[in-house]
């Protein structure tokens, strides 16, 4: 075992999300998801595609933070209009950070409160969530696992489609929706419970089932035997140091 922090464990666990995706665009929004995608492209699924978070596909992940002398190795123009071409074709797996997630995997980054005309807190807006969720695979990152994020009812503004039978459009089945994992500061969740119920996939070292259940606003599928999330290897930690030379991840769990 090497010395590591929670954020390192979370990034290494999240990096596994793209393991079997083949040649798709991996998009990680925020430091932790981006480092997870970068680590995956570098060491786990080297067929992944990533952008410089601006307008180019790059042949190797761009380290986060100020670039110093580093020049991104661009290979393909990828302006925003082209991102949508890719999204609509389905060859993408994004990892994003919703403000709220419900038991169906429906997610919200738009606004908080019961009155849409006058929300209690205006957040970003739905951004690309509706289009992402109906077109390609998605995973979520939650830095602070609690029942304000994992809400009891539906999220206040359903920005992305989930596994909710009441909202399934005509001609669609759950197979048309592809929500993979939710990586939090406590555990990894997936949707592999009965009828796509959210299930505890692994618990981070030292975290109990009760820690997770009591911080989640809805019932979870709790398997009898739950593995412990693997600790980062020395090789992974060395790679992370290259991908995040200024240690921006140190504060990325919200401390």
């Amino acid at each position: 075992m090497s010395d590591y922090r929670l954020v390192d464990l979370v990034i290494c666990a999240a990096a596994q999300a793209w393991r079997d995706d083949g040649e798709v665009l991996a998009t990680g929004i925020g430091v932790v998801p981006r480092l997870a995608a970068s680590l995956c492209m570098k060491a786990i699924n080297t067929d992944l595609m990533m952008t410089d978070s601006e307008a180019w596909l790059v042949s190797e992940p761009v380290p986060v933070g100020p670039r110093g002398g580093y020049q991104p190795r661009v290979e393909t123009w990828m302006g925003f209009s082209r991102i949508f071409d890719n999204v609509w074709g389905g060859r993408r797996h994004a990892m994003v950070g919703p403000t709220q997630i419900d038991r169906f995997g429906q997610a919200n980054i738009s606004c908080i409160g019961s009155d849409y005309r006058r929300p209690k807190a205006q957040m970003l807006g739905v951004r690309g969530f509706p289009g992402n969720s109906i077109n390609h695979a998605n995973s979520f990152f939650v830095p602070n696992h609690n029942s304000k994020v994992f809400v009891a009812g539906e999220v206040d503004m359903v920005a992305s489609i989930g596994y909710n039978p009441a909202r399934l459009p005509k001609g669609y089945t759950f197979a048309d929706v592809d929500i993979r994992w939710i990586i939090t500061n406590l555990c990894v969740l997936d949707f592999e419970g009965p009828d796509r119920q959210i299930r505890i996939r692994s618990l981070h070292p030292g975290v109990s089932v009760d820690d997770v259940v009591s911080n989640t606003g809805f019932p979870l599928c709790v398997p009898e035997n739950i593995p412990v999330t693997p600790e980062p290897s020395k090789a992974q930690l060395d790679l992370l140091a290259l991908l995040d030379p200024r240690d921006l991840r140190a504060t990325a769990m919200g401390a």
């Binding site: 100020p66 209009s81 949508f84 006058r118 807006g125 951004r127 509706p130 289009g131």
Partner: protein, 302 residues
């Protein structure tokens, strides 16, 4: 004959002042604003709009401080948006306040639906079918967006309606007097679709060039719509400030912080308005440090 006419210089000249461009707008119009968040926004034209008496506007934008300022100034009846953000300051403070006070109507849609709405208007079709929005509250809060049957399969489709614009405001790196516009940054965003979706298109530019400039195919390759789409060209160096106009200049993080901080003060907007808008564009450039300083602003790293 043709040759001699050309030599006589009978070419059109779309150059105008910012005031002349804004005088082309009317109360109640639907106005698209190009750029994306804190990037290549026609902010000098927006400031001119802020100084005008225009009101009851519907603003269509991948929003940044353009939307926030117009909301703060009470110019806006409705915002069509997917996000309003300054990126490094994720939540636009004045847009946020307008929403939380229930001061504006909204049409909140996905970023890609937004593209399709502009595209539909540009194609002069009333809608484009898409799966985007299915199963989400975008449909619940926009009852005007219909879900339809397909003549070709048994699935539900969202009929994303066209988003026709009365006018579009855009900022580019360079333009000639006839309205040939060049964007040199790595992304032209959806500016070409804004230009095609609008009846009138007013474009500010950092530099005016002779038509001869575009004789080089490498320069002409960075022109994303035909000059027939351009109504007016306004020469406004630094006209995207405080947003970026890569590669000429990055966005002004210090200025955006000052702007965002003003939203926390009582009367903060009127102080910002007095200091940076009411003074006029020439004095604005002085107060933000001058054009030379703007051109030194580092390009952002994402």
């Amino acid at each position: 004959m043709l040759g001699s006419n050309l030599r006589m210089g009978l070419t059109m000249d779309k150059r105008m002042t910012a005031a002349q461009a804004i005088a082309g707008l009317r109360d109640g119009m639907t106005i698209g604003i190009g750029g994306w968040g804190p990037r290549r926004k026609p902010m000098a034209l927006v400031r001119e709009l802020l100084r005008s008496d225009l009101k009851d506007l519907t603003i269509v934008a991948y929003g940044g401080a353009d939307v926030g300022m117009l909301c703060a100034a009470g110019k806006v009846r409705k915002v069509v948006f997917a996000f309003v953000s300054l990126d490094f300051i994720p939540l636009e403070p004045y847009f946020r306040a307008a929403r939380q006070n229930g001061a504006i109507d909204v049409m909140e849609i996905d970023e890609g639906m937004f593209l399709l709405g502009l595209k539909a208007a540009a194609m002069r079709t009333s809608f484009i079918p898409t799966r985007i929005g299915l199963g989400t509250d975008v449909l619940k809060y926009n009852p005007g967006i219909k879900v339809i049957d397909s003549p070709y399969d048994d699935k539900a489709w969202v009929a994303m309606p066209a988003l026709p614009l009365d006018a579009a405001l855009l900022h580019v790196d360079r333009a000639d007097a006839r309205g040939v516009c060049q964007i040199c940054g790595p992304d032209h965003y959806m500016d070409d679709l804004f230009a095609r979706a609008a009846d009138k298109v007013f474009v500010s530019c950092d530099e005016i060039v002779d038509t001869e400039f575009f004789a080089d195919p490498a320069q002409a390759r960075q022109v994303f719509w035909e000059r027939a789409q351009t109504t007016g060209v306004v020469h406004l160096p630094g006209g995207a400030h405080p947003s970026s106009c890569a590669p000429l200049y990055g966005f002004d993080a210090k200025h955006f912080k000052e702007y965002a901080a003003s939203a926390k003060e009582a009367g903060g907007w009127s102080q910002y308005f007095d200091r940076y808008v009411a003074c006029g564009e020439e004095e604005y450039l002085n107060r933000v440090g001058g054009l030379a300083a703007i051109r030194q602003l580092p390009l952002p790293v994402f």
